[in-house]
């Protein structure tokens, strides 16, 4: 049981390098072509591991459906998607936060204020908790554009350094939640391959400190 075959869903893009570095640091022998490969599935036979490379937003979906046993996913995605997966470990990489931003010195209108975001669920529940009924406009990128050209009064987006906001003349109004990458597991895999997954959690926890 201790060496059961495991499929790990990895996020492509921004988080990938840090995640791969973390795994190497924990003693996993990842293939050298790992970082610049265009392949979507990579097997590491000597470790009895398979890596699949997915869009960061999709990692939890693969894990929830059980086609990947574990995965590395941003807390932002988990808040947005509310998938049925175990959140086992805070990997403390790719730190950033979700925030509300807009043009400086503006107020949101009383009637049906518009909020643009890549995270419609997070945005909607945040404003509901603030006692505001808002209308959400779903965008897929360059969210900062929305208040600049009058599509929305506020945006809800990921902020890491604040540089993008600054360069576009936007200011932050409120912080919603801190975001780091998490190790997630499928509920059944976590039970059936418990020994192996726990071992990986322990190895990663040790180097994260």
């Amino acid at each position: 049981m201790n060496n059961s075959f495991l499929t790990i869903a990895m996020p492509k893009g921004r988080i990938f390098e840090e995640a791969a570095e973390l795994l190497r640091g924990a003693g996993f022998r990842l293939p050298p072509e790992f970082d610049d490969s265009r392949k979507l599935i990579l097997d590491v036979e000597e470790e009895n591991l398979r890596f699949i490379l997915a869009k960061p937003m999709d990692v939890v979906t693969y894990v929830e459906h059980g086609v990947a046993d574990i995965g590395i996913a941003g807390k932002d995605v988990m808040l947005e998607e509310e998938r049925d997966v175990y959140e086992l470990l805070d990997l403390k990489i790719s730190a950033c936060y979700l925030a509300v931003a807009g043009l400086p010195g503006t107020k949101i209108s009383d009637i049906a204020p518009k909020i643009a975001s890549k995270y419609p669920n997070v945005a909607s529940s945040y404003f509901r908790e603030q006692g505001e009924q808002v209308e959400i406009i779903k965008l897929n990128g360059s969210i900062e554009l929305a208040p600049l050209i009058g599509l929305a009064e506020r945006i809800v987006d990921i902020v890491s350094t604040g540089q993008t906001l600054k360069e576009n003349g936007l200011v932050e109004y409120a912080k919603i939640a801190d975001v780091t990458s998490r190790l997630v597991a499928n509920p059944v895999s976590y039970r059936l391959k418990e020994a192996r997954i726990t071992e990986i959690v322990d190895r990663l926890a040790e180097i994260i400190g």
Binding site: E64, V188, R191, L192
Partner: protein, 394 residues
């Protein structure tokens, strides 16, 4: 919504085509035979129930209920589980006759899907309820019967995780003091958010020893030794009774000879909020969700006006069929192709075959456009065509 195309079905609704149907029926038959062998009696209840009774008692989220109105304006629900309807029948009718009561069901239940595909909104459950039986031997019977039923269905590898919601509750309350605080931690477990659980524990105004106890609680999973580890964490006898129950349960499961299938997981919480004691989930490889679950619910029958303890389990037949792997190919029936002048002969031949227990189709050949394609779907073809002798096998 745009007008649906003719081939479309509502979200989450599925057709069952012959091959999967056969797999399901064969698994269901084997399971219900086994359940009957343990002396359980099958019953049926209606698909529609009142929202105010079954809907409220069922512990399925409100937004997952299919609701509709009857002609008098009452809100109805398509039953989202079978435990609540059976509690209703038991409390209002059957319990007056005998206690304990052993009932079984095999029925479709309905849970609306909010987001996307991949999960059915209508699925079959086969399960049992043992009502008016407070003993640990009833809990053991559930788990032993569950294991036997799965084996009867042909599933050889599975794992049953057993927890105890009473232990979890007492343990949290003894450290945290109030139900409000305990419910926050329970929610983290329910959401499977261990990171959030640990962060929340760190933020609580507790002694470092108590914090450590709560953190160690999350690793209470594994063999029977887990119960000993759990005993080390409790203080002031809180939770000891529940642990003693689990210990006794472990002894009885050994007597049933099924200890290789079970493990303990004291962090287990269920979306079914009516559980009060032992609860369990069963997993099989290749299926990303539990194939069944169950537990003790000692307060549900009270809602229907009868105070009785109860325990039971339900197996998801669709997920079980998935866990069984390759669907079995049903053997094709035989076929008679006849021309109109020899129809009587064909009918008599078919009757003879059927009396032997064979499955046989009769088909007028003059309307079959592609004889080769048609006959390919049968195991054997008998031709009664043209003038002349008896049926000839192709």
């Amino acid at each position: 919504m745009t007008k649906p195309f003719m081939f479309e079905k509502p979200l989450g609704m599925r057709d069952t085509l012959p091959v999967f149907y056969e797999t399901k029926v064969s698994a269901r038959n084997k399971m219900s035979e086994e359940i009957k062998k343990w002396g359980y009696q099958f019953i049926e209840t209606p698909a529609l129930e009142y929202y105010e009774t079954i809907g409220e008692a069922s512990a399925i989220l409100d937004q997952q209920l299919f609701k509709l109105l009857d002609s008098q304006g009452h809100t109805l629900v398509l039953r989202p589980d079978m435990t609540a309807p059976i509690a209703r029948v038991a409390a209002s009718k059957l319990l007056k006759q005998q206690i304990p009561l052993r009932l079984a069901y095999s029925a479709n239940v309905y849970r609306a899907q909010q987001r996307e595909g991949g999960r059915p909104a209508e699925f079959e459950q086969i399960g049992i309820e043992c009502i008016g039986n407070k003993s640990i031997s009833a809990d053991a019977e559930m788990i032993a019967l569950l294991a036997d039923v799965l084996k009867a269905a042909g599933l050889m590898e599975f794992k049953i995780s057993i927890g105890h919601i009473g232990f979890l509750q007492e343990f949290f309350l003894s450290i945290l003091g109030t139900e409000e605080r305990a419910s926050i931690l329970r929610k983290f477990l329910y959401e499977k958010n261990y990171v959030g659980f640990r962060e929340h524990v760190k933020s609580l105004p507790l002694s470092s020893i108590d914090k450590q106890r709560l953190i160690e609680f999350t690793s209470l999973r594994g063999s029977e030794d887990t119960l000993k580890k759990a005993l080390g964490l409790v203080e002031n006898n809180k939770g000891q009774d529940s642990l003693a129950e689990l210990k006794e349960l472990a002894v009885q499961l050994k007597e049933f000879g099924i200890e290789q299938y079970v493990s303990f997981d004291l962090t287990l919480v269920s979306h079914m909020s009516y559980y009060t004691g032992t609860l369990f989930e069963v997993y099989a490889g290749q299926v990303g969700s539990p194939i069944g679950n169950g537990g003790r619910y000692d307060n549900l029958l009270e809602k229907f006006g009868w105070n009785a303890s109860a325990t039971g389990f339900a197996i998801r037949v669709d997920r079980l069929a998935e866990a069984l792997g390759e669907p079995m190919q049903p053997t094709a029936p035989e076929c008679i192709l006849f021309s109109p002048e020899r129809r009587l002969e064909a009918i008599e031949f078919a009757r003879m075959k059927r009396s032997e227990g064979k499955r046989i189709t009769i088909q007028d050949i003059t309307v079959v456009q592609n004889v080769d394609a048609f006959t390919r779907t049968f195991s054997e073809v008998h031709l009664f065509v043209g003038n002349g002798g008896s049926g000839k096998d192709e």
